[in-house]
Amino acid sequence: MSVTSEKNIVLHAADVIKNFGGLRALSDIDLQIEEGKTHAIIGPNGAGKSTLLNVIIGRIAPTSGAVVFDGTVLTGKAPHEINQLGISRVFQTPEIFADLSVLHNVMAPAFARRDGAFRLNMFRATAREAAIRDEAESLLNDFGMWDRRDDHSGALSRGDKRRLELCMCLIQHPRLLLLDEPTAGMSRHDTNTTIELLKKIKLRGMTKVIIEHDMHVVFSLADKISVLAQGRIIASGLPQDIKEDPRVQEAYLGGAAE
């Protein structure tokens, strides 16, 4: 798990094709994610970014090709099994437990790591799960949400819901964290806070795949960038190479780059 080991591939999407009816959403995707790195996937709307993420987490089955995570083929596995292997995901619209308190939102995923397959611990007290509670509280503290731990999470602002969802993923100590536009709907200030938090996670050596529109976020975080256009990866490389690649500029950045 060391960050310095050379080119250790955690996730490999090999020759992935996805058709929706007659429409080809992904063609011949070959994507390798290196351990400990932050890999950004960018591209114009409709390029297939979300589809690719959904294929990785098992929400969508690819028409052909396979996704291999750390030696395990993910294709055909149920979403909860894929999570149990160590892949967590932040959604484009935050998926949280709106009826539960903020603290319980973070504790539930921690229980999933232990009880996900099924455990009938109906005579244990959640309040007595001290280790998990402490971890959840310290994570909420890192994210500046500790004083809101007893609030109803449905009442949080959109930005706070995103941060909460991030906490819910981080408490699982995933080996791979997938982020689908993690700063969408956040103010500039919240976006910068989130960037700092994500940088901290990076220092812990967590591998991340990030889909993002905001170039400020992408270039602040990414070690490597793949550009997706019309279902194909048209370029892949270091941030500065991508910035200068004329094909990328034509396909995506155009004049809109910040």
């Binding site: 909860h80 319980h104 539930a108 229980f111 999933a112 009880d115 005579f123 699982q172």
Partner: protein
Amino acid sequence: MFHLSRKDQVKLAIFALVVVTMPIWLAPLGAAYPGLMQKFAIYAIFAIGFNILFGLTGYLSFGHAAFLGVGSYTAVWSFKLLSMDILPALLFAVLVAGLFALVIGFFSLRRTGIYFSILTLAFAQMCYSLAYSVLTPITNGETGLLLARDDPRVIDAALGAGTVGGAGLPSPALLGNSVTGYFGFYICAALLILTFYISQKIFASPFGLALRGIKSNQTRMIYTGFNIRPYMLAAFVISGMFAGLAGGLLAVTDPIAGAERMRWTESGNIVLMTILGGVGTLIGPVIGAWVIKYFENIFSAINKNMLNATFDFLPDGMQNIAVTVLSKFVGEGWHLTLGLLFVLIVVFLPGGLVEGYLKLVARLRRGRGTKPEAGGK
């Protein structure tokens, strides 16, 4: 394992006190006779169990009466074949109902929402038909399953113990003590308190948290690594076992089991009780069960003469009008009153009577002028 939070301990203590003192506080309400109080306790157990499924996971079963009926039949068979003691009868009632819930839940839980409800309804109607006609040798069909003097009762026979009840039909007993009247009520009351405690434990456990997660956001649960199928099935089976216990107790307090206990109206009743009191709250279903049973037994007994007596102080014409109008809402018309009450509650207090109470408390605390925030959703 027996740990409860301070708040829950207080709740449990108050609850136990309220249940045990039923004969006192129900007296002015005209409902303090053992037969009715037994029903109060039994249906509260049924409602608490139903709430573990509906309240925690949000899955609305329309077939829970099936488990009530199965519990009753099992208990009566235990009386007939094994012993008049209620311990094996209740044990088997819970286990067999749990087995039925396992099978019905396994199939019904393949669907969600309205399709789940329809599947449970279909299974319950099948059980009802089987009990009413097809399985007559086991259920004694329309007449209902009754005890007989010459039942084998192998355990009682082996122990050579004479059955309580003398020359007539034997009556259910707990370790040799005949379960009738107040003794019967206190057995039901003790089991109700135990049921409430178990429900508190489930609500406060990681298991309960997982169930509430399923209700709140299934997508997040799945992508968080929970395999929700076994969690749902466990909730369904537990809730079916509680219904089986309630059914067994119905047979204990009155040793007869009929198919009408499995009818869909009974399944509907338990839904009404839970919603009326407050879905997903600990105490709500109990209150709902009590209110509905009270209406069914007391309100339905009020007749014109009693109304005439009550409105005696009014002038003749007024008295006639008052009695004529009100008589439509009592006696046979109690369903009308209950229906109105239900509509009012669902429209104005979607969280049931418990929400109404919480709103009232909040309003009193904050004083007038400030509107309390809506609880629940």
